[in-house]
């Protein structure tokens, strides 16, 4: 069964450093998302992406964040200058219809 994949599974970085989280959505899906989940808390929407552009973003998704679909398969989330409070699990999701398929997540730890 096709699935969303994410790399790396765990990323440790120093505060102020840039990180790029990578996702490979399911191949025939057209809608892509990034969510984050701080440990023990709810899943929070960051951004949605369709037709090669951002379609919606939350207040969390400020100028430090950007997304890209550099080729036909990858979907990336970049955080330019990480802060301690960016430490969380970041989930990528994709969908063709209404069901969103989540990837296994990247745990980002900012020291």
């Amino acid at each position: 069964e096709p699935e969303v994949t994410q790399t790396p599974s765990h990323q440790v970085t120093q505060m102020g450093q840039e990180v790029i989280l990578r996702c490979v959505p399911i191949s025939n899906h057209l809608y892509f998302y990034w969510y984050r989940q701080i440990l023990g808390q709810k899943v929070e929407f960051l951004v949605s992406f369709y037709n090669n552009e951002i379609s919606e973003k939350s207040e969390i998704f400020d100028d430090q964040f950007s997304v890209e679909r550099p080729d036909g398969s990858n979907f990336t989330l970049k955080i330019r200058s990480t802060k301690l409070e960016d430490s969380a699990m970041y989930f990528c999701a994709s969908r063709a219809n209404y069901e969103q398929f989540f990837g296994p997540g990247t745990r980002l730890t900012v020291l």
Partner: protein
Amino acid sequence: GQQVMQIPQYQHVQEGEDFTTYCNSSTTLSNIQWYKQRPGGHPVFLIQLVKSGEVKKQKRLTFQFGEAKKNSSLHITATQTTDVGTYFCAGRPLINAGGTSYGKLTFGQGTILTVHP
């Protein structure tokens, strides 16, 4: 902005007991989805409800969508240890003439279910 509240935050049950989690949105929803997240795992889609008053069943799970499309519930009959995890509702705002929602989901805080054997 839209808020989705979910109660209870925690639920501990003995295996075989029933379990219910409730979800309430501050705004009318286009549809609502339910997800299950096992400890250490990622959210996995369970179901989507679209119609006012809709009821859907999946084996021991019963999902309801309120008449006003602002609340929903998930009921598990005769829980099993495999039911442990966090159950999230996620609402999609009602699409209106002013804009189009491409699938932004607002998640509730989740209900953590523990089942004691």
